[in-house]
């Protein structure tokens, strides 16, 4: 009933524990004869090494903790998927915690992660709480922020300002002069602030007038409501989810896209290419972000120290059908 252990294998193959351990790990060359005997015993017993014991004695794990704001957002689903894939390739297993952007949930999970002695932490969207950085520092567990920037951690994300500027420039080139920024509850606070600020700057740069920003209630739109967006002709949404809801809300107000209004999203969710509305959006290089994020993290896990590295990736404007000429 109880699982066979390394001693059972040792007994059955007539060698010592350490020899069994050696063949399991492929360590110090074991003589071929012994090796096969041990392997036979392992197979017969259905032995499976106990990673917990190994982790205890080695004082390190190959488990990574992952924080994500909202797995229901395909952008993050995709990001987690890619991150997990690379982690797995590198022999790491991933634990995830969906925080819903809540600070409490974050602290609660972090205790679990820390007790389980994760080798490192990836924050795909963090609450941005400065206490977090400090905590992780005192606990000295490596951490990386992915898809956002934070000077107190290693990080990789896109050039947000550039991305938003791309969106505004596109709108401006199409002739739109009155632009509005739209966000929603489906956008992380910090990200929202950065993008909104970038929007303000870009508007000035491109000579556009900033209309009153809007906070869209996506769930209400989902439920059939038709909130009225500001009287702009060009809209920059804080992310794709918001953009899609915005297009819908505009439609319900009789302002169709791209004829009566133009909308640009941010993220580059695959789905937005479909979905009737081909959303014009600022795409983030997901694959590269996931890969780079993992690399940064594993470097730290491997003990590399030095100043934080903040990697900035290039966003890419993908023009589809929610943007068109304005104010002709």
């Amino acid at each position: 009933m109880t699982r066979p252990t390394i001693v059972d294998v040792a007994a059955r193959s007539g060698v010592s524990k350490s020899t069994v351990s050696n063949v399991i790990r492929g360590a110090p060359p074991v003589s071929p004869g012994v090796r096969t005997r041990v392997q036979a015993a392992i197979a017969e017993l259905g032995y499976r090494p106990n990673g917990i014991a190994r982790q205890l004695v080695q004082r390190r794990t190959s488990t990574l903790g992952l924080f994500v704001g909202d797995l229901g957002n395909p952008f993050y689903g995709e990001l987690v998927k890619l991150f997990e894939r690379h982690a797995h390739t590198n022999g790491f297993t991933t634990m995830v915690s969906n925080t819903d952007g809540s600070r409490e949930r974050e602290t609660a999970s972090i205790d679990g992660f820390l007790e389980r002695r994760v080798a490192g932490l990836a924050l795909l969207q963090s609450s941005g709480d400065p206490g977090l950085a400090e905590l992780l520092r005192t606990e000295s567990v490596p951490a990386v922020v992915v898809s956002s920037h934070d000077p107190s951690f290693d990080s990789v994300g896109v050039d947000e300002e550039k991305g938003v500027s791309l969106a505004v420039q596109h709108l401006a080139e199409l002739g739109h002069r009155r632009l509005a920024y739209v966000t929603s509850g489906y956008v992380e606070d910090r990200t929202n602030r950065v993008r909104h600020a970038s929007f303000a700057i870009a508007c000035v740069e491109h000579g556009c007038e900033q209309m009153e920003p809007m906070h869209l209630d996506v769930d209400a739109v989902l439920a059939g409501a038709a909130p009225a967006p500001p009287g702009a002709t060009g809209f920059v949404a804080a992310n794709d989810l918001t953009a899609i809801a915005l297009v819908e809300a505009l439609g319900r107000q009789g302002r169709s896209t791209p004829n009566e209004a133009s909308v640009v999203g941010f993220d580059g969710i695959a789905l937005t290419a479909l979905a009737g509305v081909g959303l014009t959006t600022v795409a983030q290089p997901l694959e590269e972000m996931a890969r780079t994020g993992l690399e940064l993290l594993l470097d730290r896990v491997a003990g590399e120290d030095g100043p934080c590295r903040n990697i900035v990736l290039e966003p890419r404007l993908v023009v589809r059908t929610t943007t068109g000429r304005g104010e002709r």
Copy 2:
């Protein structure tokens, strides 16, 4: 540099290891004086219990392994999120593996999970490989299948046949007589088979003619292609992702929804309520599924044995704007 352990705390507070252990676990009533002394020492040292050691000695973990086919699919993203949330509430941490429906990836991850001695496994979409069930049985690790059915596991999912029947009935009532089933690479094999078979039955039941089924290349559609769907007026898609792509493909062929063609999806992804196209779909009760799935699993983890329980939930038809009167 090295983390404080329970002995450090013991030394600092002048008691024995076990007493410290007792206060940590809130076990055998400890005298108030000692308790506060110990707690003070814990705080001063920044001590954090080592879960690995605890798991080793207790011979059990509070970690759950989660297999998911595609986290990029919001349906599964949402499901994982809900499952993880409930797991966390119950004191369990979740490890995830995105399998992409690949058998290899599944086996590779399962080894990792088993070595880490997960308390249980949740398969949100499994490869359906019969060897898996057998393996998990011999390893005697509890497992539950969520959002699908498998007689060899505890499971919870919707009544697929009923769901598809709802879709076909809806189409039939709208006057559609020639129906086609459409799937894609974004649908799990087994799920596809079940839904396709249900489609065949439902067509007979509702007196509809089955046109040739189609396998849609969603990525091609994403890339701008316009494959030609069969000459039906009513379509049942294997899932929402496929349905959305189908609506797009139909549109590119000049067959607009719902005027020239009607499309019903399956899953009930929140996004589909938005997205220009308000997709008519068969919605699955995600929240209930996640909750029930976890309950089934935790019951097994707690040692309950008995025959497999296969719970079937009711799907719900959500009528939106991709379906309309046909063949008037």
